[in-house]
Structure formats: C-alpha cells, structure tokens
Symmetry: none
Subunit: 377 residues, 2 copies
DNA sequence: TAACAAGGTCACTAGGTCAG
DNA sequence: CTGACCTAGTGACCTTGTTA
C-alpha cells in the first residue's frame, strides 16, 4: 500500500501510456495512488502538505485543469489531485539532510520572528492573554516531527501481510461455503499474519537505541498486543473481520467470549493508516502486558524515563497530526476510537490468555525478534 | 510547450548563449515562446496587452530593431515580438495586487486573528463561533445522555477525599521542612486516599445491574487502577504532586522508578473534573488488570457484551461532552491526555506490583467493596 | 532482473521590484 | 518606461528502494 504499489494483479505490464487523471497529459505510472504524469506527481509532492492552507484560487474554486492551463490555478490543481484520489499519506518526508538544513534554518528564523511578533502584540494588548495558547504554531508539526512521523509510518511496511491476507481471502472465497475457514488453516493464517511484527521494533531507531534489557522487557510486554492489533487491522482491511464463518471458527479455536471483543476491535480499527501506525509505535513503548511468565526475564527497566519520553513524543505527534488532518468532530472521534482500541485490545488479550497455539506462537516471535535485534547490535 | 518545458529531450543543457530573436542581444532562455533577452521579455510582458492599441510608430512601421535602437520605436519592437513568435497567451494575468499564495506567516496571523475573535465572542456569548457547523445532531448529547452524564459525575463525590488531602497538606506545611512527608504518615495518607473508591462502583447503576460474578471480576481487575488514578487526581488538585518532599518519600516507600511515572500521571490528570469522572467510570468497565492472583476468583465474565456496551456508552458520552465543551485543539489535547493517562496508569501499576502495603490495602478495599455490593443486592 | 514508485536535482521560465 | 536582479514554481531526468 505504501511505498511501492506495482501493478495490481490483473493489470499487465504497462506499455501503453494512458492519461494523467489530473491534467490529461500522457502518463504511465501511478503516483500517490492514481495514474498521473510526472509534473502532477511533483506538484502534489510539493504542495500537498502546506498547500491546503496557503494556496488560493483567484476565480471560483472550480477551474478546469488540463495540460495547458494546469499552471494557472494551483489551488484547483491541488483540489483535483485530492478529489481524484491522491493520498497525502503516501508522501514521505525527505530522508536526506541537504535541503532540510536550509528549511530548518528558515523555519527557526520564522519562529523567532513570529515569537517576537507575538510578544509585541502581547505587550500592546493584554486583553487576549490566551493568544499564545491558541496560536497555531503549537498545532502544526515541526520539520523534525514530520520526519519522525514519516519514518514511523514507513518503517513498518504492511504490504506483505496485506498480500497474505488477500490471498487467504481469495482462497477461502473460492471454496464451497461449508469448507471455508477450517480451523487448522485459520490457525495457520493467524500465526502467519502475526509474523512480521518484528519490523515494528527492529526498524525503529528509538527502540534500537534502548538498552538491550529494556528492549527485551518491552518486547515481552507489548509484542502480543502490537501483533494482535496490527493483524486485526489487516483482517479489517481485507474484509475478513466481516465474515461470519471466520468469527465462528475463531470462537471454536479460541474462546466464545473473544468474539464480541474481536468485533469491537474491528469496529474501532477503522482508523487512518498513519494514526494506526503511530499508535502501534506508541504501544511499543508502553508497559501494558503485566503478565509475568515464569521463564521470562525480570521486568525491570534500566531507563524508564527514556521509554516514557519516547512514548510521549509519539503521542504528541499523533495529536498534532490529527489536529492537522481532521476537523473538530472527526478528530475527537478518532481519539475516542483510539481509547476504545486500547481497551478492546486489552480485553482481547485476556480472552486469549490460555490459548496455547496463540501464546506459544507469540513466544516464538518474541524470541526470534530478540535474536534479530541482538544480531543487529 | 507550456509553463516550463526545460530542454526538450534531444536538446542538451543550454550552455552557449545565443542571440535574442528580437534585438540580437545575448540570450539564454526562451520567454513567451522564443529565445529572447530579459529586456525583450519584460517589454513584451508589459506591452503585449495594451500596446497594440496605444503604441504608435513615428516612421514607417518598419523600423529595424537591434540592441542599440530597441528603445526608439516601441510599436515596431512589439510588432517584431509578435511576428517572431512571442505568444500573448503565455502571459499570465497576475490579478495585480492579490497575492497568489498566502505566505505561511500570513496564514498563522489569520488563524491567530480568528482565534482572538473567537475569544471575544466566547466572552460575549459563551458560544463557539463555529457553533452552527459543529452542532450537527451527532455532536450533541441527548437528554438521556445528559442524565447519565450527570449521574456518573455526581454519584462519585470527591469532596471527602479532597478535604482529607487539603488537611494533610496543611498539616505537612505547618511542620518544619525536615519533618515533612515522613514515610509512615504518607503511607497512612495514601491508604486513606484510596478508601472511598467503592462509591465509584456501588453507586453506579450500570455496575449494579451486572451479575455478581461480573461485578466481582471487574472489581478485581480495575479497582487498583481506578483507586490510584482518582487518588492521584486529588494529589494534583491539592498540590501534593508538586512537592519534592512527597516525591522523595514516595520513592523510598515504593520504587524509585515510580517517580517519573507518577510525575507523568500528575501532568496528565490536569483534566476537567467531568472528563476525569467519566474516564474513571469507563475504567470500571474495562478489562485492564490481567494479573491473576492465585486466591482471586476465576476471571471469566458471564456477560461480556453487557460490559463492553456500557464501556462504549461511556466513551461515547465522553467524546460528545468534549466535543460540546472544547474547541478543536483543546479537544484533541484532552483526548491525547486521556490516552497518556491510560498508559501512565498502567506503567505505574507495574511499578507498585510488589509493594506490600499498597497491594494488601487494595485487596482489603476490594473485599470491603464486594461485601457492600452483596449487602445491597 | 525488470517494472514500478518513492525521492532528489537543477536548468528553466513565469512574475515582481526598484534604481535609473 | 526600462532592464538588472530577484524569488518561486516547474518538470525533465536522475537515483533509490521494493516487489514480482
Ligand atoms: Zn498531469
Ligand atoms: Zn482555481
Ligand atoms: Zn532582445
Ligand atoms: Zn517603428
């Protein structure tokens, strides 16, 4: 879904150039979600982030966009990009520092300037003492935060697991109804869908910079939750969560009480991908699973402050992002869904407490991930 | 063809300066369709629109144009521009004074301005400026929901514990610094401050309507969390959380790793009382504490759907209330504080896992509360 | 390996300013 | 009115990373 989304399965190798959905120029590949020409790709990349605030239409906000007039109204060009289906989420922040340096300098100067302006105004007029609190400086992400957000959302690539999920769905749907969602195959599938969660940890720089002990403790505490949540996110995306057959088999291989909770997780997991990934990253730095296995290492952190600071940093980015992206009502709903999500995933974890095939597979993944991390050290 | 078409594919990077097609001056790039010098570009831009009507030739309309005499006859210069291939269509009407793109600074100032306006109106009429937009049917509470909200916030009366807290603070502050926050007294105080949490459960109609088994399981699962959170809320209100002496003694009677977490909880409980109470009520119906004591009852719910529905109901009221009360940014911050709160309280509970005086007191409260509930049955 | 889709660079071309 | 010099946006071409 994210980085590269080469031809979908039925589509053949692209030889014939088609039209750019934005301007009609000849186009060959899809960028940020839709078939578009290079120019429109670059335009979107450059303007998607801030353009929505800064661009203006000099006419009626309904300018037609074509190859020849696409330069005339940037506002309407951007609108067309968005309505045609280009997704901001697919833009990554710059990974190199060359340009960033310059930008950062500018931003800092800007901030300094803005701050001094704010001070002047405060001194001039005391009647709006809360002006600073409300200023939008606070509510936008800094360049560093955009970078971190980009890294967090892209280091955890869900393409693999989504493909596995789609394949499973196709296989099941091609079977006669009676034969769908057999227990053994479902267990196998669920286990597979949990597998690549190690990425979430071993590609996260903040996680890698923790002490070996803390990484190990966090893995033991959180991996069951993160793996389950991200698997359920995928189940929802491929439509598995809605299959009665799936829920029935799930009840038989786990616990009938898990079903309402699984439904609940599925309902709440309809979050935007970016928010979900930020949330998964936050969970990695949370001390949530307090079940103590007798054979697990002692759950004592060597530097708990570092963990809390990271968690805090991620939550701040999450809310700044939500603030940036959504309007009032959507934002509040999004956050309450996150809270429901935390509570639901906790509830689910209790119900699977004694399911051997699940717990032992999680254990295996934890051990494998620990090995990978040690090797990478 | 259009705006910028740098070097066509076969054309190499332009290094050698060529001649302006109009005046023969050295030129490097093409403007409005033909290779021309800057001056001729500017001339065309300025005169193409009106010049054809206003300019006149004082000679024979066939003046030669070169680098030296190009100023002499504007009429013929413009004619040469047109006949050489400059296109009026490539001039973009700039709409004179209107800035094409708002600068970021301007946007921020606009926002600040809007915010300050909002403040004015808030003071005038206690209403949000965007009231109409936001007051969709979805975002307001129904009469039933207002009732429930009122019940939830009033059944759990914090006056008692706040008084105890204030009394403790006064006592401590009247002592010499060296004698403040002695361990034994602090333990006593903390235990007392946990005591009246039973109200949260046994005055809640939704809780009382659960089966005896489910009430018992929920008590065991959640009481430690709710009691700690509500105690810490009070500590924050009376100013205890900010006392260095308190934090130092707390470290000595619990665990030094608890301190950063305790600070974190204190930072995040700066929530409005209503939200905090709704959140505490929500926690009562959450399956969060999965530590299994050997002597505790089996953690199996008889009707998990009822519990989840209640939790859901409370969260919905919470977000509707937040939506009703706060503006966009405040609302999002409030919710992210709630999430931080959940994670922080979890983290804190791990740190106190083996603190005897705490765990055993919690056990006592659980048993007492169970008794009260049975008597009320 | 080839196809695809992210990222980046910099030559190029609009528009604007201000001293002359 | 002119033109030297400026900013900012554009897109052809390139590099890098991922997947089939
Ligand atoms: Zn296009
Ligand atoms: Zn327009
Ligand atoms: Zn010329
Ligand atoms: Zn003439």
């Amino acid at each position: 879904m994210s980085y590269n989304e080469p031809r979908s399965s039925e589509q053949q190798v692209n030889t014939a150039a088609v039209e750019c959905k934005i301007c009609g120029a000849s186009a060959k590949y899809s960028y940020f979600g839709i078939i578009s020409c290079q120019p429109c790709k670059m335009f979107f990349k450059r303007n998607a982030e801030q353009g929505q605030n800064t661009l203006q239409c000099n006419y009626n906000k309904n300018c037609e966009i074509n190859l020849n007039n696409r330069h005339v109204c940037s506002y309407c060009r951007l609108q067309k990009c968005l309505t045609s289906g280009m997704e901001t989420e697919k833009i990554r922040r710059s990974l190199s520092n060359k340009r960033k340096r310059k930008r950062e300098k500018d931003v800092n100067e800007d901030l300094a300037e803005r701050n001094s302006m704010a001070l002047v105004r405060l001194n001039e007029s005391k009647q709006f003492p809360t002006l600073n609190l409300l200023r939008s400086d606070q509510s936008t992400l800094t360049a560093d935060q955009w970078n971190l957000l980009s890294n967090l959302t892209h280091c955890y690539n869900e393409n693999g697991r989504t493909t596995v999920g789609q394949h499973y769905m196709q296989t099941q749907n091609s079977l006669p109804i009676k034969l769908r969602f057999k227990a053994a195959a479902l267990i196998q599938f669920i286990q597979t869908s949990l597998d690549d969660i190690d990425m979430l940890y071993n590609k996260n720089q903040d996680f890698l910079s923790l002490s070996a002990n803390d990484r190990s403790v966090l893995l033991h505490m959180t991996l069951k939750h993160t793996a389950s949540l991200s698997a359920n996110y995928m189940y929802h995306q491929v439509g598995l969560s809605d299959c009665i057959g799936y829920l029935n088999t799930l009840a038989s291989i786990t616990n009938v009480d898990l079903i309402p909770i699984a439904k609940r997780v599925a309902e709440r997991v309809k979050l935007d991908t970016v928010v979900m990934k930020l949330f998964l990253a936050t969970l990695c730095f949370s001390t949530i699973n307090i079940t103590v296995y007798s054979n697990s290492p002692p759950l004592i952190f060597s530097n708990i402050k570092q963990i809390l600071d990271t968690q805090n940093k991620y939550i701040e980015i999450t809310w700044r992002y939500i603030l940036y992206k959504y309007d009032h009502e959507q934002a509040v709903k999004c956050f309450s869904d996150l809270i429901r999500c935390i509570l639901a995933i906790h509830a689910a974890m209790i119900q699977v407490e004694n399911i051997q095939w699940f717990e032992s597979h999680i254990d295996t993944i934890i051990k494998q991930t620990e090995k990978i991390i040690i090797v990478e050290d």
